[in-house]
Symmetry: C2
Subunit: 227 residues, 2 copies
DNA sequence: TTTAATTATTAGGTTAACCTAATTTTATTA
DNA sequence: TAATAAAATTAGGTTAACCTAATAATTAAA
C-alpha cells in the first residue's frame, strides 16, 4: 500500500538526491523540501526503512532501495506526462502546470497514464527537456549537460533547464533564449566565467556562469571537446 | 478548507438524499455508503454541522445546507465531467470510468475542469444521461422521469438510467435498449405493472416494473398524460 | 582540545479518522 | 403495553501524521 504521502517522500528523496549528487539527503533536507519538521520525517523514514523503500543512517542520509526508486520514478513519470499533457493539449502555461500535476500524479490508474501518454505522442522528454522515465523506470539517454561546461567555440542546442523558478524562466525569456535554440560560445571570461554567446538575436549576449549552470545543452558536433 | 474526505461525505449525503427523496439520510446509511462504521460518521457529522455544511438530528437525518449543497454539486459536476471526458476523449468503457473519476473529482483546479469541459463540448448531460450541474450548482432542466410512470400508448425516448450496476446495464444491452432509443408502451399489466414495449427490435419486449423504474425517459409529445 | 554552535534524535503531546463494545433510545410485535 | 429487536449514540481505544521542547551527538571555532 503506497499512499500519496509515501509517494511524496520517495519522490522528494529522489529529487534531492538528483539535485546534488554529492550531498547526502538528510532528514532535515527532506523536512525543508516537504515543509514539515525533522522529527516527523524521522518517524516516517523508520516506516519506509521497514518497508524496504529506503535505507537511512545519519552519515549516508536517506537512500532509495531498488523498489523505492521504482516507485519514485513512476511518480516522476506520471508528473512529467501530466505536465506535458496540460501544456500541450490543454494549453496551460508552463508556470501553471506544476501545481496541478502534483495532484494528478497521485491518481492511481496506469491505464489513464497510458492513454494520456498516447495522446501527447509518447515523447521521451517533457517540454522543458526533462526526461520521462519509461514504465520500467529507465530514463531515456541524452547528452544534456550544463552550458557552463562548454569550451570556447562550442556550438550547441538548448534542451532544457535545471531550474524552474519563475524568475529564472523570465530571465531567459528576456534574453530571448528558448527551447531548441542554437547557441555559440564566443568567449569565456577568464576571471568569472561569464559567457559571451551568439544566438538568433543580432547582438551577442552576456550570461553569468550562475545562469549557464542551469541551462542544459547538447553539443551539435560529436567530440567537440566540451567536458 | 474542504478535504477530499469532507467532499466525499457531502457527496454521499447528496446522493443518498436524491436516490430516495422520501427517506431521511441516517448516519448508518452514510456509513454503509462510505463503507465505514456509524460512530465514525456521527463524529464527522458533528464537525460538518459546526462548519454549517449539514444539519443533523436523528429524526430528519443529515441534510445539506446551502453551502454544503454547493460543494456537493461541485463534486458531482467534476465527477460527471471527468466521466464524460474519459469515455468520449480517452475511449474508456463506461464501467471503467467511475472509479477513475472518483479520484479525479478531488483534483482541485477549477481551470482544469473548465478546460476539460470545453474539450468535451460543454454538454448538459453525461453519456448516461445524468445532468451536469453548472458552476453555480444549478442542474439543467429536463423532463426525465422513470419509464414506470408511463401510461399506455406513451411514446418516449430513453435519456438515461438511475441504476448504474453492471448487471442492470448488461440486462439493457441484452434487451437491445440503449441511450436515445425510442419506446412505445403497448400494454401495462394490471396485476404487476409489467410493461410490453415496442422498440426498434422486431418483437415487442416485456419489462418488469422494477427495471422500468430505473430507466429514465422523456415523452415525445407534450402533455401526453403520463405522470 | 575545550567550548560553542549546529544538527540529529528522542520524548511526549495533539488531532483526525478510524475502530469495538457498551449503553440508550426507538420501533416492533406478541 | 410490556418485552424484544433494532438502531442510534456514547465511551473509550488505536494509528498516522503532525507538532514542540529537551537531549544527545557532531562539527566548527577559539
Amino acid at each position: 500500500m503506497k499512499t500519496y504521502r509515501e509517494e511524496n517522500y520517495l519522490k522528494a528523496i529522489y529529487q534531492l538526491a538528483n539535485h546534488d549528487k554529492s550531498k547526502v539527503v538528510s532528514a532535515t533536507d527532506i523536512a525543508h523540501w516537504l515543509e514539515i519538521k525533522p522529527p516527523t520525517v524521522l518517524e516516517k523514514l523508520a516506516i519506509l526503512v521497514k518497508k524496504d523503500y529506503v535505507t537511512y543512517n545519519k552519515f549516508d542520509g536517506a537512500q532509495l532501495t531498488t523498489s523505492g526508486k521504482e516507485i519514485a520514478l513512476n511518480i516522476v513519470r506520471r508528473h512529467r506526462i501530466w505536465e506535458t499533457y496540460l501544456y500541450k493539449q490543454l494549453k496551460f502555461s508552463w508556470s501553471e502546470v506544476h501545481e496541478i500535476a502534483e495532484q494528478l500524479e497521485h491518481v492511481n490508474s496506469d491505464k489513464l497514464i497510458d492513454r494520456i501518454y498516447d495522446v501527447i505522442g509518447k515523447p521521451d522528454f517533457d517540454p522543458h527537456g526533462d526526461p520521462i522515465p519509461n514504465k520500467q523506470g529507465k530514463l531515456p539517454k541524452s547528452d544534456r549537460r550544463p552550458l557552463s561546461q562548454s569550451i570556447k567555440g562550442c556550438k550547441c542546442v538548448v534542451l532544457g533547464v535545471s531550474e524552474h523558478s519563475e524568475v529564472f524562466l523570465n530571465y531567459l525569456t528576456d534574453l530571448n533564449i528558448g527551447l531548441n535554440d542554437k547557441l555559440i560560445v564566443e568567449q569565456i571570461n577568464a576571471y568569472d566565467d561569464t559567457l559571451k554567446l551568439s544566438t538568433k538575436t543580432k547582438e551577442p549576449i552576456l550570461m553569468s556562469s550562475k545562469a549557464a549552470q542551469q541551462i542544459l545543452v547538447q553539443c551539435l558536433k560529436p567530440n567537440c571537446g566540451c567536458r
